[in-house]
Amino acid sequence: MAHAEPAFKLKIANLSLFVLYVNTTDMAQLKNQLDTRVNKTHNFFSNTPVALDLSAIANSNISLDFADLISFMLNHGMHATGVIGGSTEQREAAVQSGLGLFPDTIVKPAIKTAPVPTTAPSITPNAEKTNQPELPEFGLTIDTNNSNVLDSDTQRQNPVSQVLPTFRPTMIINKPVRTGQRIYAEGSNLVVLGVVNAGAELIADGDIHIYAPLRGRAIAGAQGNENARIFVHSLEAELISVAGCFKVFENGIPENLRGKPVQVHLNGSDLIIQPLLS
């Protein structure tokens, strides 16, 4: 008899995962703020697995009504999958409601930076090995592995090294980018060596370098990184944008910049285009 094909493989995969940091045991407050935040970005979650981090409420002797929270999250497109941290009682209650348990240690090793709410910039990053981020204004924060930041209006993207190192290699394009083509360097910088023609679109979460004429569009810091920059060998662009701040050239590009090597960066809410001096 022929050897049977293996019906499965069991492996450990490093996946990025949303983590909902629960900072309060007050269900009404939690639901209310979660509701407001999720409604801001409609349909952002769709059957998305989300872990619950209970570290901040571990010292409380109140346990959450997990069944209630699970169904509430489900209504917002979030699938609660398991809990991280929390007290023994809280973890037991979570298991009773069908949630899994993440090992308590996953966030502990070698944390460089903890999530910082940028709405409160005075707070310095928690450099200690703690998994209790202080989040005074929001009842929760939502972490992503360097992509898909939930709301772009108030938050600046911060490096988050919760699960995986977030370094992604620069994307390099060595062919012409032609009209109708769109290139997205997700979570990384983008370097283009060929011409970028009118009607083509370059998007990067980091910086964009173009060592050829840019005649199409270049969008740097697409996830809201205000420090992103664009470097262009010859500026002939239709549109340039950094962190959502954009400029079109309806009346042509100013004489001192047209066809010149330039860099583009953001100063507050002003998009600055300046010639590159050699």
């Binding site: 012409p176 023609n197 005649r215």
Partner: protein, 271 residues
Amino acid sequence: MSKVIVVTSGKGGVGKTTTSASFSSGLALRGNKTVVIDFDVGLRNLDLIMGCERRVVYDIINVINGEVTLKQALIKDKNCDNLYILPASQTRDKDALNLEGVERILNELKESFDCIVCDSPAGIESGAFTAMYFADEALVVTNPEVSSVRDSDRILGILAAKSKRAVDGLDPVKEHLLITRYDPKRVEAGEMLSVTDIQEILRIPLIGVIPESESVLQASNAGTPAIHLDKSDVAEAYRDVVGRFMGDERLPMRFVTVEKKSFLKRLLGGR
């Protein structure tokens, strides 16, 4: 080794079918066994330009559907011994073309032909896509005009990303720029893009420049590919294109500058 060459442009009315007719005739005149396929299903034109519209019985869709053999559908050209035409269907639409069927036909044609020229329809939809998918080389027909150049740029992007060669990770489709309806006088007057302007944008090798000429219209109406016209600059230009395609790199690029008539010629009232 036979070659599949697509004649494409994105934009309509730039001279794809005129080019397909003359280019395939030129290849045949140079001794290549050539077949030209009309992919413009529903808007069949190539047979008119080739002057064989009254001999069309079966078409590419009949072959794809297995109703007739390839041999039954191929029409022998009236001017060249080595040239055959596979016409499009006039009564069907482009959805009747499918990649499997086209691949089967091309493979069968490769057994007996050196060059297979595919006359693409305009646009970037399924018809144009099917015509370019199996190409080894592409003639990108462009008019000296911004919208045509942009559409050609789009087509080049699709060739580089979605053709079979791109999908299979083989050597990319070899691209040739063919500028048609070029009028050096209007370029000098600043009314048309120059060859340099177009090359600066598209950045692919130039295979030829076909001058704007009234004789093209006459040739089309007469059902004779322009390359057969006597003493015509269009015919000369197409012959140069075929020459360069066959590997003759030394041919000078003609018809790109305004021809200054000599004093003597003006005096004698030359052409």
